[in-house]
């Protein structure tokens, strides 16, 4: 029954293949965010006041709302909050900051704002990791890949576990972050 309903729904939806693929990628990336949160350790002294994992979307939502179901779930016994930030001032309270690809030009400015703050930065624009970002979604053999800039992570007094490193390929930035 369920299968039939799903099949029918899927067949009747006039979705283009590219768009469908885009959607699947967004979903996978949103799922990966959870694992980033799970295997990253924030310094206790810089832990946010509230015991929460705040996932901030800077400059728009590239997940088309697929990140929203994660709100309310927990990771490492902390509740996940998803919110959009538009100003640099809001960034301070974030555990993870996803920088929208459109915000690539603003990245250096944002990066400055994040200086001294333990915020895990994630983005999907090319060159994010090498330009001081920490985790970058990329395409490897037409599959989703993850690049990680461990130096940036360490600089932000964050710690990522091996489990996370297994998901990603480590990149070394052309110029050190900041």
């Amino acid at each position: 029954m369920m299968l039939a309903a799903l099949l029918t729904a899927a067949l009747t939806l006039p979705v283009y293949a590219a768009e469908r693929l885009q959607l699947i990628e967004q979903q996978i990336e949103a799922g990966l965010i959870y694992n980033f949160l799970k295997y990253t350790q924030w310094p206790p002294e810089r832990a946010p006041q509230t015991p929460m994992m705040r996932v901030c979307l800077f400059g728009g939502d590239p997940f088309s709302g697929h990140l929203q179901p994660m709100a309310g779930r927990t990771v490492n016994e902390q509740k996940i909050e998803v919110r959009s930030v538009t100003t640099a001032a809001d960034i301070g309270g974030c555990s993870l900051l996803f920088v929208h690809a459109d915000q690539k030009p603003n990245w250096p400015a944002v990066q400055k704002t994040l200086a001294g703050k333990s915020v895990l930065t994630v983005s999907d624009f090319e060159g994010f990791a090498v330009s001081g970002g920490m985790i970058e979604f990329t395409q490897l053999d037409s599959r989703i890949g993850v690049l990680i800039n461990t130096a940036a992570v360490t600089a932000a007094h964050l710690e990522v576990q091996d489990r996370l490193l297994k998901l990603a390929r480590t990149v070394t930035p052309a110029t050190p972050g900041r």
Binding site: M2, L3, L6, L7, A10, L11, A17, R20, L21, L23, I24, E25, Q27, I28, A30, G31, L32, Y34, N35, K38, Y39, H66, P69, M70, R73, T74, V75, N76, E77, I80, L140, D141, S142, R143, I144, G145, R163, K166, L167
Partner: protein
């Protein structure tokens, strides 16, 4: 029947209680101990259960790793996985071995079949492993295409068999604790989730590797698995909540489920929507996929670890709680036992022992020993109150004892007063019933107490007692048992002892007093009459002297006058007769001139013989009895002759038909006791002259007045009425005493006591009456005397001599006593008695009844008069009245023989 003392009852109660407590405690402790054993078994079972889980988990890992290798896209990936496969195989083998070993300790028969299945599948696994190793080394197209499915199916079958074994195993422990059962179920759900996510991972990994679209069957398989997992998540949450597991594992649970649902969302459109990738490459690599799903499994594993440890904590808590419960129960049991023992000790020490002590003290108290019911420290509880009450009781009892002793003493005193009172004491109630009758009353009335008590007092006195006599002292008449009456003084008091009105009468016999008063009155009368007549006679004598002298002168001067001379003669004769009369009066008034001298009475009486015979005539026989060794008396002999003559003439007059006159003289002495009875007589030695006739006698009334002047029973003109008065006056003037004994019809005896001459005193020595000791005896004497006074007097004398005395007032009464059969040695009886039976008759009757009885007569008449008058036979023993105690004593011993000393 066993004695149920307080101590035993207490022992019984405490014993029962102890037994009850022990049984209860034993039951509880035993139950808890069993429970503890079961919980320990459960703990071990939970550990075994976790090993099951671990084993199947490990097996699932091996399965997945092996599948990943089979689906690996390149040799690089295969090489990477080779080490993991080896590790997972070793881990799975170890876990399975441990599980099988673990199972060996459980011998539940229903597990045998289940174990066999597990072991069968276990044997297949090692045969597939080399196949996989071989297949991995070959290119994909040369491999057996069934191998992954076969492998997957075999491992899953093994897992299912293990799962079934686990369920069978756990079913043995579900009754121990429902919470633990829920824990186990929760873990079972976790395992199911793990299993199905593992299958999904495997299938998805295959699709990614082959880069093929899932067939509808595969999509159905995925959807079914997802449905099961989602349902299991819901159920597990429910179970976690119900079993109380959630608070402990909550964060881990939340993380694991969040992770799972995130993964699910991630694949939402990739594999569950047909042809989602449109022929393009899947956007996720197989290694990334495996890593992601392994990470999700890690979250699940963390949750599992958490729940395992929580279960362990819970079971340990159960064990601790049960152990604590056992400890508490044992403590309560011990405490209860101690309380039992303590209360037993307390009750014994504080209640039973004091009660026993008090009982002992009470026993002592009843024996009159001094006791304390409680140590002086005192208590304020019930025992203390009891002791106080007992103490108060004892005090009361002692007070009552003292009072009763006083009461008894006082009652004995009163009794003594009543019993020894000379006066009669009588107690009469309102109805006139006699309640008390003292010994004096017995003497007065002749009744014994039992004869009067309960009877009306009218029996004793004709007048109504209480009404007539209350409150006053008066004379009344008492009635004796024999019907005679006596004067008595009766004083009656009213009292209300105990609210009942009673009357107490004090009765005094007035007989003696009346007689004494009578005698005194008589003496005083005689004295007054004497003085009067003396005075008159004296003056009259003077006048007569003048008349006589003048008559003599006239007689001589008138010798020539024959006509007048006889007149003078007549005057002289009349005057002479007047002078005689006055002399008689003077004699009575004891004013005659007496010339007392020592006179031999024998001689004097003998000299009167001729005179008496002439005066009395031939009809009367005269006997003169001379006393042997007779003392001389101090008396005027002429006057004595005149007096005897007077008495003889009186006797003659009393014997008109003739008779016998006896005059006898004897020595006597009047002792104090006789003197007391006749107060006009002084004790001392006397010469007694008895003048007895056998004439008509005189009544008591006549005898009482016989000495009064001018009192005469003779016909007018026959006597002057002065004869006896003259004798009386003369004897009294002479310091003597005269007494009349007379019975009507039997004759009269006059007894004249004349004081012994002082010359004789000198001759006989100057000893006065000596109170010599008289011979005594202890024999029983029946004494018969009609005169109350004499009877009482004689009774006392006999008792004083030591004799046992029975008394009777007349012949018939004496016969009754004799007939009663009391031992009586001697009959002592008056000769002359009223009531038909004289002394002689009585003696004859008595002798007939008791031949050995000694008989002693007594009489106011002289022995000669009585014996020779024919009243008694010759040889009879007679004691003359008045007799003295010595005479009585001697006479009695003469009859009874010498005193037996013994």
């Amino acid at each position: 029947v066993p004695q149920l003392s307080l101590r035993r009852i207490l022992l019984l109660i405490v014993g029962t209680l102890t037994l009850f407590i022990t049984l209860l405690a034993a039951k509880d402790v035993y139950g808890d101990w069993q429970r503890l054993t079961r919980i320990r078994a459960l703990r071990d079972a939970a550990v075994s259960s976790d090993q099951f889980f671990d084993a199947t988990q490990k097996l699932a890992v091996e399965r997945d790793v092996a599948l990943s290798m089979l689906y690996a896209p390149d040799s690089e990936t295969i090489d990477e996985l080779r080490i993991r496969l080896k590790e997972s195989r070793q881990a799975a083998d170890a876990a399975l071995r441990a599980t099988v070993a673990e199972l060996n300790q459980y011998t539940f028969p229903d597990l045998v079949e289940l174990r066999k299945q597990v072991e069968t599948h276990l044997l297949v696994i090692p045969t597939l492993r080399p196949e996989i190793d071989r297949a991995v080394g070959l290119p994909h197209e040369q491999r057996n295409p069934d191998l992954p499915d076969r492998w997957s199916g075999e491992v899953t079958a093994l897992m299912s068999a293990t799962e079934n074994l686990w369920i069978g195993f756990v079913s043995h422990f579900t009754d121990v604790d429902p919470i633990v059962t829920q824990h186990l179920l929760f873990k079972h759900l976790l395992r199911t989730i793990t299993d199905y996510t593992g299958r999904e991972r495997s299938l998805v990994g295959r699709l990614i590797t082959e880069n093929s679209d899932p067939t509808p069957e595969q999509i159905g398989q995925l959807l079914r698995g997802r449905g099961i997992v989602e349902t299991d998540w819901q159920m597990s949450r429910m179970l976690a909540d119900q079993s109380g597991l959630f608070p402990a594992i909550g964060p881990r649970y939340s993380d694991a489920s969040s992770h799972y649902f995130t993964m699910r969302d991630m694949l939402q459109n990739l594999f569950y929507v047909p042809d989602a990738r449109h022929g393009a490459t899947y956007p996720i690599g197989v290694d990334l996929w495996f890593e992601l799903s392994t990470q999700a499994s890690d979250s699940l594993g963390a949750l599992r670890e958490s729940s395992i440890s929580e279960t362990r904590n819970y079971v340990e808590g159960l064990i601790t709680a049960t152990q604590r419960e056992i400890t508490i129960q044992a403590s309560i049991f011990l405490l209860a036992l101690m309380l039992c023992a303590y209360s037993f000790t307390i009750i014994t020490g504080r209640v039973i022992r004091p009660i026993n002590n008090m009982a002992g003290a009470l026993l002592q108290a009843t024996r009159g020993e001094p006791v304390t019911f409680l140590p002086p420290t005192g208590r304020k509880d019930e025992i203390g109150i009891l002791a106080n009450v007992l103490h108060a009781f004892q005090q009361n009892v002692e007070h009552i004892k003292r009072t009763s002793v006083q009461l008894v003493t006082s009652q004995e005193h009163l009794r003594a007063v009543v019993d020894t009172a000379v006066d009669g004491v009588i107690l009469v109630d309102k109805q006139g019933i006699v309640r008390m009758f003292n010994p004096a009353c017995v003497r007065l009335f002749g009744y014994q107490p039992e004869e009067t008590i309960g009877k009306n007092v009218n029996l004793l006195m004709p007048l109504s007692f209480e009404r007539e006599h209350a409150g006053i002292v008066q004379e009344a008449a008492g009635r004796r048992k024999d019907g005679s009456t006596f004067p008595m003084e009766l004083s009656v008091g009213e009292a209300k002892p105990g609210g009942e009105t009673v009357f107490v009468g004090i009765i005094r016999d007035l007989t003696d007093r009346k007689r004494t008063a009578q005698q005194l009155f008589q003496a005083q009368k005689m004295e007054a009459v004497g003085q009067l007549t003396g005075g008159v006679a004296h003056d009259f004598n003077n006048l007569l002297t003048v008349i006589l002298a003048n008559a003599d002168t006239l007689f001589e001067e008138l010798s020539d006058r024959e006509d007048l001379r006889p007149l003078a003669e007549m005057t002289r004769t009349a005057a002479e007769r007047g002078a005689e009369l006055t002399n008689s009066l003077l004699a009575f008034s004891r004013r005659q001139n007496l010339e007392p001298k020592a006179v031999d009475i024998n001689k004097l009486v003998a000299g009167m013989d001729g005179l008496l015979r002439r005066a009395l005539g031939e009809n009367i026989e005269i006997r003169l009895v001379q006393g042997a060794g007779l003392w001389r008396a101090t008396v005027d002999p002429g006057q004595l002759e005149s007096g005897i003559l007077n008495l003889a003439i009186n006797a003659r007059d009393a014997m008109p038909e003739g008779g016998r006159l006896t005059i006898e003289a004897s020595n006597t002495h009047i002792d104090e006791s006789y003197s007391e009875a006749h107060d006009e007589v002084k004790p001392g030695q006397y010469v007694l002259i008895c003048v007895s006739d056998t004439g008509t006698g005189m009544s008591d009334e006549v005898a009482a007045r016989a000495f009064e002047p001018f009192f005469s029973t003779k016909d007018v003109g026959k006597g002057t009425g002065l004869g006896l008065s003259m004798v009386y006056g003369f004897v009294k003037q002479s310091g003597g005493h005269i007494k009349i004994y007379s019975e009507v019809g039997d004759g009269t005896t006059f007894k004249i006591y004349l004081p012994r001459s002082s010359m004789d005193w000198e001759a006989a020595g100057t000893e006065p009456v000596r109170k010599a000791s008289h011979p005594t005896g202890t024999e029983t004497i029946l004494m018969v005397e009609d005169n109350d006074l004499v009877r009482q007097h004689t009774e006392k004398q006999l008792q004083a001599l030591g004799y046992n005395v029975l008394v009777a007032s007349d012949g018939p009464a004496a016969m009754k006593i004799l007939e009663r059969g009391d031992p009586i040695d001697l009959l002592f009886t008056d000769v002359v008695m009223p009531g038909g039976m004289g002394g002689r008759q009585l003696a004859e009757n008595a002798a007939a009844l008791r031949p050995s009885l000694k008989i002693l007569f007594t009489s106011g008449y002289t022995e000669n008069a009585v014996v020779h008058h024919g009243r008694l036979g010759a040889g009879a023993h007679l004691l003359r009245k008045p007799y003295q105690r010595r005479e009585l004593a001697l006479k009695l011993r003469q009859l009874l023989g010498p005193v037996e000393h013994g």
